[in-house]
Amino acid sequence: MLTISTRSKLFALTFCVAAATSLLLAFADRSTAAERGPQIGVAAPTFTGTDSNGNTVDLSAFSGQKVILEWTNHDCPYVRKHYDESQRNMQTLQASTTGAGAVWLSVVSSAPGKQGHVTAVQANELSESRGASPTAVILDGDGSIGRMYGAKTTPHMFIIDEAGVLQYMGAIDSKRSSNPGDIPNSTNYVAQALGELGDGNVVSTPVTQPYGCSVKYSG
């Protein structure tokens, strides 16, 4: 009956306590509210894309291997710095990492008509002429993968470990410049992080400020 007597007080009180508890519980997890883009120590967003050979590339297929994502735009002076013949910085890193069993995906998110946009043929010609050896060049003209990762600059680097967890994001190295001459005096964050992961250590510098040209997204 709703002309409730003393016992019903217990009922009502119990409910109030339960409701209050669950309110607290419900708010305790507000901290997990998402969307700051990819985060270190958390599973990297998965994607499928098409590479310059027309193959479908599925990130989740590389589970068990390290994956390095490199956002690139061959006409950007900062990218040219790292592909410059004098240092061959990016090429060397690609060869050593893929040689060690890792997967290197170069991603081109330049929209059609914008700087750095390439056709499949051009992408392959560029790899050829620059002596680059990525596992695949992913053509992301609509920018969907770039936006998923919050890729801001070319170059912008990401390292995903064997378990699919993001371990590094940021710049290729410590000297923000477009001058290849600065490369010998800089710390290569990607090489450093890969070395630390290889030694079973945690990455000491997991997030750095990427530098370079803006990714030439559509819109």
């Binding site: 109030c16 339960a18 419900a26 997890d29 994001m169």
Partner: protein, 706 residues
């Protein structure tokens, strides 16, 4: 013109050219493809032993820009390497406030047009007057439009050492003083900031000064990567001054105890827009100590109007299907009591009202404090938690069982009179009020939306006043009945019909329970829903055992109570208590074919394509929303949208969604439903809101305004 005059003119021109040629700026300026650069001094000569100012001037090609010290999402700041004579020391560049430079998804910070980067130079004291010194600046910059080009220039400036007082350079003096006037000044107001999850609150304690003229607020962090640059700062004027909301970037964890940056405030004054920049060093404070960084734009209603709306909203709440049964029962009780002793009925009316008021004040207090702690929650937020939805479903079911006489509290022998005589019924009435509030929470009645939206951005006292008015509205009919004999007479005499009527009311309660389970099914996996249904069986069992053994004595009575408690405990144990918010990804309600899921970006895209957009923010637990969707969103409405190329975006708030929470706040609403029509941007019309209760006619009429 005479010959002499002509001669004078030629002589003058030659002198001018010669003077120009002998200016110490021979290797100065330097033109690169996109920038013309100068190295200039504010003083005519070098004053020994003091600091004087020089500047790197960049005249940037139209449409191109160079960068601030924090270039934003990409880019590189301009740097200067100095080659100076012995004893000279150059300071750092003093950066003017930058502009936001959006580029597709990214935002950079930098400059366009004519830029002066000021640098202080300390000259040594032991300079010989009459000699000259040469300052060399190796300047590098990145200049970008849609593409970026690194450029550099070596600029030299040769100046004489002054022998006495130094005169200002007549050509550049003005530029120096203009630049200096526009530099960020140290903020005259104490600043603090707090960081929590997806929000950074920055507070400028300007006091309660009236700032109606503030048009825009921009925040530039000196530290790179700590803010999400693409999201513009949102601001609100509070009692303490200016509350600014920022979104953290990938490196937000690297903010230390101070947030260092430049805040640019644009004011709309009579003689045009004034842009002022302030250097801010904010100390870290507890997030909860900072005023709510919510945006208040749409609501600007007087307090009395909000109170009236709240009261009317509370009244209408009485008619909601989940509240009605509980309240009808209360009404019947009051009728019964009033027949026996009117003064007792009044006491019950009052304690019921007190129950409603107290619970509304508690809910309001919790809501406002969570809001001020930065949570994007609103009315109905309770139903975003699967645990609470489950508890409510159990409660509705239990109340239904009670109404259907499966179980009852108290001895059936206990006469109404005896209960009243002991006065214990008053606490009962109080808790009925609490119960009414609990069951009312899923419903947003029309008028409540505006009032609640208003309440949530007010200081605590006003907010609580509005929640109080809402409670008064909910309690009003029963207060009126218990106090007015005339109204009482309108209700039929108590009798056997009351028992039947009470049992009938069990069915809306069961229906409400089913609806809550449906809401739950949109939030959690199917097996969890089945567990909850099993829990309902346990509750029914508990009710039956409780009732069957109520009159028993000794062991049976104890065993009955123990079993009932165990069964309720079992039902509670079946709930998934893990503090997980309903997965936001579950899509449940069938959207019409042309509808798309709402996101800020999608809305921006559509508007960028110059399309009209109809935004519907809804939730499965929102009865008003569901009613509107079935009554007003008819085939004709959908057809109108497809025919007239009106995009339809549906935002689902059944589960917590920060973006939708912010969107609601932007329109001054605390909860769903919210209906907004965005006309084509090219039409120049402002977006407008639809009422919370819709008919097909209202919607179609609203489309006519496009």
């Amino acid at each position: 013109m005479g010959l002499k005059a002509l001669k004078n003119l030629i002589f003058g021109l030659v002198a001018l050219v010669l003077a120009g040629a002998t200016l110490p700026a021979a290797a100065n300026p330097v033109s690169t493809p996109n920038v013309k650069a100068w190295l200039i001094s504010e003083m005519e000569e070098v004053p020994a032993g003091t600091t004087f100012w020089v500047a790197l001037r960049q005249e940037i090609r139209e449409g191109w820009h160079t960068y601030w010290k924090n270039p934003g999402d990409s880019g590189e700041p301009t740097t200067i390497d100095w080659v100076l004579p012995e004893g000279f020391v150059a300071g750092d560049i003093v950066w003017p406030a930058p502009e936001r430079i959006p580029l597709a998804d990214l935002v950079n910070f930098g400059y366009s047009g004519d830029l002066y980067l000021l640098v202080p130079i300390i000259a040594p004291a032991d300079l010989a007057p009459g000699t000259s010194v040469t300052l060399t600046a190796n300047a590098r910059w990145l200049v970008c439009k849609d593409i970026c080009i690194p450029e550099e220039a070596t600029l030299t400036l040769t100046m004489d050492v002054a022998s006495g007082d130094v005169a200002a350079n007549k050509i550049w003096q003005k530029a120096f003083s203009n630049t200096r006037m526009a530099l960020p000044i140290p903020s005259p107001w104490p600043a603090s900031f707090g960081q929590r999850n997806e929000s950074i609150a920055l507070q400028l304690d300007m006091g309660s000064i009236d700032l109606p003229s503030i048009k825009s607020v921009e925040v530039f962090s000196s530290q790179e990567g700590v803010l999400k640059n693409a999201v513009e700062a949102q601001f609100q004027k509070t009692e303490r001054g200016l509350a600014i909301q920022l979104i953290p970037g990938t490196r937000a964890d690297e903010i230390g105890d101070t947030f260092d940056g430049v805040v640019v405030i644009e004011e709309d004054l009579k003689d045009g827009v004034v842009r002022r920049a302030f250097q801010v060093e904010a100390d870290r404070a507890a997030f909860s100590d900072l005023p709510a960084p919510n945006v208040l734009s749409a609501i600007d209603i007087p307090i009395w109007q909000a109170l009236v709306f709240a009261f009317i909203g509370g009244l209408i709440l009485n008619l909601m299907p989940c509240v009605l049964p509980v309240l009808s029962m209360k009404a019947l009780d009051i009728v019964r009591q009033a027949r026996e002793a009117p003064w007792i009925a009044r006491q019950h009316g009052l304690s019921y009202a007190a129950g409603v008021l107290v619970s509304f004040l508690i809910v309001g207090g919790v809501l406002v404090s969570l809001r001020s702690a930065g949570d994007q929650i609103g009315w109905g937020f309770q139903l975003q938690s699967p645990v609470i939805v489950t508890l409510l479903a159990y409660l509705m079911f239990a109340v239904g069982l009670n109404l259907a006489n499966v179980f009852s509290f108290g001895s059936s022998m206990m006469g109404i009179g005896s209960g009243l005589a002991r006065g214990s019924g008053l606490t009962g009435s109080f808790f009925t009020g609490v119960l009414a509030t609990v069951v009312a929470t899923p419903c947003t009645a029309p008028f409540m939306g505006t009032a609640l939206g208003f309440a949530l951005v007010q200081p605590m006292a006003i907010a609580l006043g509005i929640f109080g008015a809402l409670g008064l509205g909910l309690a009003a009919p029963y207060l009126a009945v218990s106090f007015s004999p005339a109204l009482l007479r309108l209700i039929p005499k108590p009798g056997a019909w009351m028992e039947r009527f009470k049992q009938l009311l069990a069915f809306p309660m069961f229906a409400t329970a089913i609806w809550l389970v449906w809401v739950l099914s949109a939030q959690v996996a199917a097996n969890v829903v089945i567990l909850v249904l099993a829990g309902a069986v346990l509750i029914a069992f508990a009710a039956w055992v409780f009732e069957s053994t109520k009159m028993a004595t000794g062991t049976w009575y104890v065993a009955g109570r123990v079993l009932a408690v165990l069964a309720v405990g079992g039902a509670l144990a079946l709930i998934d208590w893990s503090p997980q918010r309903a997965a936001a990804t579950t899509t449940h309600s069938k959207l019409p074919e042309h509808a798309e899921a709402y996101s800020d970006n999608r809305l921006k895209d559509l508007l960028a394509q110059d399309r009209a957009v109809f935004v519907n923010l809804t939730a499965d637990w929102c009865i008003t929303c569901k009613a509107n969707e079935s009554v007003a969103f008819t085939a004709a409405v959908h057809e109108h949208m497809t025919q007239h190329d009106i995009a339809y975006l549906v935002g689902d708030w059944t589960s917590y969604d920060e973006e939708i929470g912010q969107k609601l706040a932007r329109f001054g609403r605390a909860g769903v439903p919210l209906y907004v029509i965005y006309p084509k941007p090219s039409s120049g019309k402002e977006p407008y809101l639809l009422p919370q209760l819709l008919t097909e006619g209202i919607v179609l009429d609203a489309f006519e305004g496009l």
